[in-house]
């Protein structure tokens, strides 16, 4: 068919099953975990509800990247796109749990783990019994250069010392994937929690809806069977995890941006000043048009990055860098302007606008800030211009 039409398949949208997954997830969250539930825990030590997580797992939140023989499965042949669809809904609801990290860990174990590790963790993850987090670095990035945990060889095992920060919900997690530096290179280790020598502290954070933790390691013994792949050879696995994290975070950001945008448009129609709805003033109308432009650009970038990672397209790195820079900036812009357009009410604790603005700012700082991704893009464009 391609040969005669000269036009390939252009179907840049979620498929019907992914649409259904979104619908089901949206209804579930509206019922079981609306923003009101998030608000109820803003100042609590934990924002995570394990019961909701298990039910979410039943809906397929953590199954797509787990192979069927371990109890997982995808509604398409593009599991990363399935997850992007779910992530948009979680973002809309400002869902607080470690969806992103649990899926990153599932993928790492499924792709780089040995049979025993897969047996041990994948089924439990897909069922929702095992909640996983990732201690990637000390500074919120996933850079190998920013890894703060040393792995010293101890016979065939490893001994971990140091610190990882910004691990999502580590205090609630059952399994920790930790990036560490061995003398032979970057290494990934699986540490079931709690573990001797591991101490976890919840960081006081700007994003009130999610909890990020500092994890300290003091002489933590990691038997060789808990090392993911070979010691010193995790560079590719870390890069893959970072791509997936960027894609899922972008999808969550698009969903959250879409929701706060909808709230803001509605407010501009309802709120009256000078005898008119404020959305009738061009100062507001044009601002909302700008927000829609950025939202649609961000959605396109997020979708394309999911597609590029799912299919390992030749422009995958470029697509991830576009999403990593532009989508988070768009969310931050939309959420910030939302507070502004709401005026005084937007500055109150009771209004939800600040929850989105806080999350958007924190999103900009995790897994490579927008500047980091723009530098990546510049390198790629330079290479292309030389080719």
């Amino acid at each position: 068919m391609f040969a005669s039409s000269g036009k390939g398949a252009m179907d840049f949208a979620y498929n019907d099953d992914q649409g259904l997954l979104r619908q089901v997830t949206r209804r579930f969250l509206e019922e079981r975990h609306p923003i009101a539930s998030v608000r109820a825990r803003l100042e609590a030590e934990s924002t995570f509800d394990r019961g909701v997580w298990r039910e979410g797992a039943q809906l397929g939140w953590v199954a797509p990247l787990v192979p069927e023989r371990y109890g997982g499965g995808s509604v398409s042949d593009q599991p990363v796109v399935d997850l992007a669809a779910v992530a948009e809904e979680l973002g809309r609801a400002l869902y607080p749990g470690p969806f992103l990290t649990t899926n990153v860990v599932a993928d790492a174990v499924a792709v780089f783990g040995d049979e025993q590790q897969r047996q041990e963790f994948l089924g439990a993850i897909a069922r929702g019994d095992c909640v996983a987090t990732w201690g990637a670095a000390v500074d919120g990035s996933a850079d190998a250069a920013a890894i703060g945990v040393e792995a010293s060889p101890a016979q065939s095992d490893l001994r971990l010392d140091g610190v990882a920060r910004f691990a999502h919900d580590a205090h609630e997690a059952d399994l920790l994937l930790v990036s560490c530096s061995a003398p032979s290179g970057p290494t990934l280790a699986l540490v079931p929690l709690p573990a001797t020598g591991v101490s976890i502290r919840v960081l006081g954070g700007l994003d009130l809806t999610r909890r990020f933790c500092e994890i300290r390691f003091e002489g933590v013994h990691v038997p060789s069977r808990q090392v993911l792949g070979a010691v010193g050879a995790a560079g590719r696995a870390i890069e893959r995890a970072c791509c997936l994290a960027t894609v899922l975070q972008a999808a969550e950001a698009v969903g959250a941006a879409e929701r706060v945008f909808e709230i803001t448009v509605q407010y501009a129609k309802d709120r009256r000043q000078f005898g008119r709805a404020i959305g009738g003033f061009q100062a507001i109308k044009h601002r909302l048009a700008d927000l829609l432009i950025e939202l649609e650009g961000a959605r396109a970038a997020s979708w394309y990055a999911a597609l590029a990672v799912a299919d390992d397209r030749p422009d995958r790195d470029e697509a991830v860098a576009v999403a990593g820079s532009a989508v988070r900036d768009a969310f931050a812009f939309i959420a910030g302007e939302s507070v502004q357009i709401h005026g005084g009410i937007g500055f109150t604790w009771e209004h939800d606008a600040h929850l989105f603005m806080r999350r958007a700012k924190v999103d900009q700082l995790l897994f490579g800030d927008p500047e980091w991704h723009r530098e990546q893009l510049c390198c790629l464009v330079e290479a292309e211009a030389s080719a």
Binding site: G8, F12, A289, A301, L307
Partner: protein
């Protein structure tokens, strides 16, 4: 989810090779430079050469209107590279005639547009009806089997060389969209006067067109009396999507080349972190424009077009284009101040011209401010702007 733009099969290599040889042998030597944007030649001799060029492409089977999509892609790629126009004037009327025209109109005009025989201009805007097109005042009054049309049009690209005009005029005494009707105007008709306008670029790409009791046969109407707004919306939507040109423009690549060729504080500008950030930003927005195109194409195929899609893409493109041209000049340092004709100018002042012409894209086809109203009012259903004249 899939975005599959198939590779051109190798059996088309001969077509491409043939076209390249054809270009090498026949590309016209023109007095005018092809600058950025939709530009017009200044010399009628160039127009005659361009007509012959388009005709020869069409006759040799290399025109951009090939039915075979791979051949069409190859033609556009190769012809774009020549920087010599191969679509003359403003053929937006094609969409109008295809969708709303009569059989006679289709047969009489469409082949002649494709072959370069007829050059068209658009006669929409007026001095007091720019972005607010519904204020147009040009009148058409039925007299026997003709409409008698009087009024003044402006911003008509290539009108000074055009054979036909795609005209909007008003029948009756209504206001707003009432009575607006689309016509095919023979530019040689008695009572048509064209006066070229010189723009901020120093070139003459647009015109004023004066219509003084011009008689237009009634069967040159496109669509029904009073349906002109609908007809025009279809082609304007087309224009807002396609203004940038069919080919993808790698704006970030342009900046990389400029930044390599110029130095800041004794080092190549490409090594400056601030410059690299800007290149990354431009690259991201350039790629997003492509992704947005995929989305719009997918929605269109499912019949899910929405009213804000075309204005959104036009704003996206035109503002990025302006940002890049503006930034490129800054990267050039003092050389950024030098224009076409000055021996020290970078690439003969192409970027300086692009910087000036960039304001055409942000204003034409509905100024970006009007398009933000369209997005807000039709897309987001916000209250409409109050009018001062009703």
């Amino acid at each position: 989810m899939d975005v599959d733009i198939p590779e051109i099969p190798s059996r088309y290599d001969a077509y491409r090779q043939g076209l390249r040889e054809f270009i090498a042998a026949n590309l016209p030597q023109l007095a005018f430079k092809q600058r950025s944007g939709l530009r017009a030649p200044e010399d009628p001799e160039d127009v005659a050469k361009l007509r012959r060029w388009v005709r020869s492409l069409h006759d040799a089977g290399y025109g951009a209107d090939r039915d075979d999509p791979f051949e069409a892609r190859i033609s556009v790629e190769e012809l774009d590279r020549t920087r010599v126009p191969y679509v003359l004037g403003n053929p937006l009327v094609v969409g109008a005639i295809v969708h709303f025209g009569t059989e006679r109109q289709r047969a009489a005009y469409l082949p002649a547009i494709a072959s370069g025989e007829h050059i068209w201009t658009q006669l929409f805007s007026e001095p007091d009806a720019g972005s607010d097109l519904t204020s147009l005042k040009t009148r058409a009054v039925l007299d026997g089997d003709c409409y008698v049309v009087s009024g003044q049009k402006v911003w008509s690209t290539w009108a000074q060389f055009s054979d036909f005009g795609y005209l909007l005029a008003r029948i009756g005494s209504g206001t707003g969209r009432d009575g607006i009707t689309a016509f095919i105007l023979d530019m040689d008709s008695e009572g048509v006067t064209t006066r070229p306008l010189r723009e901020i670029t120093g070139t003459t790409d647009f015109n004023e067109v004066f219509l003084d009791s011009v008689r237009i046969p009634a069967d040159n109407m496109i669509g029904e009396p009073g349906s002109g707004w609908k007809v025009a919306q279809a082609s304007l939507a087309h224009e807002r999507v396609t203004l940038p040109g069919e080919k993808e423009r790698d704006l970030a690549g342009v900046l990389v080349r400029v930044a390599r060729d110029h130095r800041r504080r004794g080092r190549p500008a490409i090594e400056d972190g601030a410059v690299r950030q800007q290149i990354g930003r431009v690259a991201a927005r350039n790629r997003m424009e492509r992704y947005l195109g995929h989305q719009i194409e997918t929605r269109a195929a499912k019949g899910q077009t929405n009213e804000w899609a075309a204005p959104l893409v036009k704003i996206w493109f035109s503002e990025q284009n302006l940002e890049v041209a503006d930034y490129a000049l800054r990267l050039l340092g003092g050389r950024g101040a030098l224009v076409e004709g000055e021996p020290l100018a970078y690439q003969d002042g192409y970027l300086q011209d692009a910087f000036l012409y960039a304001r055409s894209w942000t204003i034409a086809g509905g100024s970006n401010e009007i398009l933000r109203n369209v997005i807000g009012e039709r897309g987001l259903e916000l209250p409409r702007e109050p009018r001062g004249d009703r």
